[in-house]
């Protein structure tokens, strides 16, 4: 199939709501035509209307694993449970490696296990993003190679938080609460464990 025929076939399939896969079409192009075809498909996608999908196609789209992963996150969690593991993959860091560097950067190397518990809470959505200090955000952003404000925004899912009080992490948002409760997964290991600098960094707010 020629480049122009492949482009037309892609466009027709898109407009018909058939959900064409770009890679399938690029794979059919001759080596010398592939780049041009990619450019033209990209150009079309930048202006094409969203097709009128059938109810079945819409169900498929809403059930897409990547859509579901992010849509399933309550706003209280922000996007950290999705974004942090992704950023760690991009940085090619295991969680223990990241925790080690984070503890080092925060000057709490001697309490690395506690840092690990808190970081686990950030990745699993069991730690209130609102309590995490700027120092942690900056250190984490530096390790992951991302802008600190972007990381902070992902934690807050800016613009989606509601003004009215709501409950998450065992506490009420928007209401005075000096002693936030904490889920068991990130709580200090023992009741006798004293509030220290690590707690302050991860739960003491900015």
């Amino acid at each position: 199939m020629t480049d122009s025929r492949l482009l037309s076939a892609f466009i027709d399939a898109w407009n018909a709501g058939e959900r064409p896969d770009v890679d399938d079409y690029l794979a059919q192009a001759a080596d010398g035509d592939r780049e041009d075809l990619a450019t033209e498909i990209g150009m079309f996608l930048s202006v094409a209307p969203t097709p009128r999908y059938s109810p079945e196609a819409l169900d498929e789209l809403l059930a897409d694993p990547q859509v579901k992963q992010l849509e399933g996150l309550p706003a209280e969690l922000g996007l950290w449970p999705a974004a942090l593991p992704r950023l760690r993959r991009e940085a090619r860091l295991r969680r223990d490696e990241l925790v080690s560097r984070l503890a080092e950067a925060l000057g709490t190397k001697d309490r690395e296990a506690k840092v690990a518990r808190y970081y686990h809470g950030m990745e699993t959505g069991t730690l209130d993003p609102g309590g995490v200090s700027d120092r942690v955000i900056k250190a984490l952003a530096s390790i992951l190679g991302v802008d600190p404000s972007e990381l902070a925004d992902a934690g807050r899912l800016r613009g989606f938080a509601r003004a009215t009080p709501r409950t998450a992490f065992g506490r009420t948002y928007g209401a005075p609460d000096a002693t936030p409760a904490m889920p068991a997964s990130v709580a200090p290991a023992s009741e006798n464990e004293e509030w220290d600098e690590v707690d302050e960094l991860f739960r003491g707010r900015r």
Partner: protein, 227 residues
């Protein structure tokens, strides 16, 4: 409390959902805002294929060899989707083309930032900083140096740039000298199939294919020359 989920509303078109977003964002009530959020989530969920397609075809401006590698595309798509979720408060459009323009810019900037991070990580991991690739004029250039310099970590105004690109596309479309080419592209982006266009303009299917391909290429050339 979970956010509104993108379920239901199968009967609404994207244009209607954009209108719901615009109305909700203009309102001051909690209910209106929640409706804008729900409509926005439906909109971008419906466009996950467009997001994937743009990531797949993304070529870094001025450095076409810098792109999102195939194995990295799922992560880049996820990152772009995260940014789309976050961009709602900044969206000022009220029409579907404005929404598409903003979405496309958001995804492109996400790709740029993704590539930037990948390069930083590769440099950090060592071994790649001296890699050279052919430049735009055949010269040998460091893979990272120029691209890193061009990609700022600054925040991008996806919405504003999206509108500018939309306008540039319209100007490019009007600048096409071939009348049939202009009509083929206009009908294409209205969602018509090649058979319908061929029938309406009394052209062969092969003509439509050629005019589509050449038309999109010419518009792109026009947009790049005015960028």
């Amino acid at each position: 409390m979970p956010q509104p989920r993108p379920t239901g509303s199968h009967d609404q078109t994207s244009a209607e959902l954009v209108a719901r977003v615009a109305t909700g964002l203009r309102g001051s009530g909690e209910e209106q805002r929640a409706d804008a959020v729900a409509a926005w989530r439906l909109l971008i969920a419906r466009d996950i294929d467009r997001v994937r397609g743009i990531v797949t075809t993304f070529r870094f401006p001025g450095r076409p060899h810098v792109r999102v590698e195939r194995q990295d595309q799922p992560d880049a798509v996820q990152y772009a989707y995260e940014r789309l979720l976050r961009m709602l408060p900044n969206f000022r459009g009220s029409t579907e083309p404005e929404y598409v323009g903003a979405l496309v810019q958001c995804v492109r900037y996400a790709c740029m930032d993704y590539c930037r991070r990948q390069m930083k990580h590769e440099i950090g991991l060592g071994g790649s900083i001296d890699e050279t690739l052919p430049g735009e004029e055949g010269e040998s250039v460091g893979r990272f140096n120029t691209a890193l310099g061009r990609i700022g970590a600054q925040r991008h105004e996806d919405d504003v740039r999206g509108r500018a690109d939309l306008d540039a596309f319209r100007v490019g479309l009007q600048s096409l000298s071939n009348e049939n080419m202009r009509r083929v592209i206009a009908l294409t982006i209205e969602g018509h199939s090649s058979a319908e266009i061929a029938d309406r303009l009394d052209l062969t299917a092969a003509n439509v294919d050629q005019l589509r391909s050449r038309g999109l290429r010419e518009i792109r050339g026009h947009m790049e020359s005015h960028d």
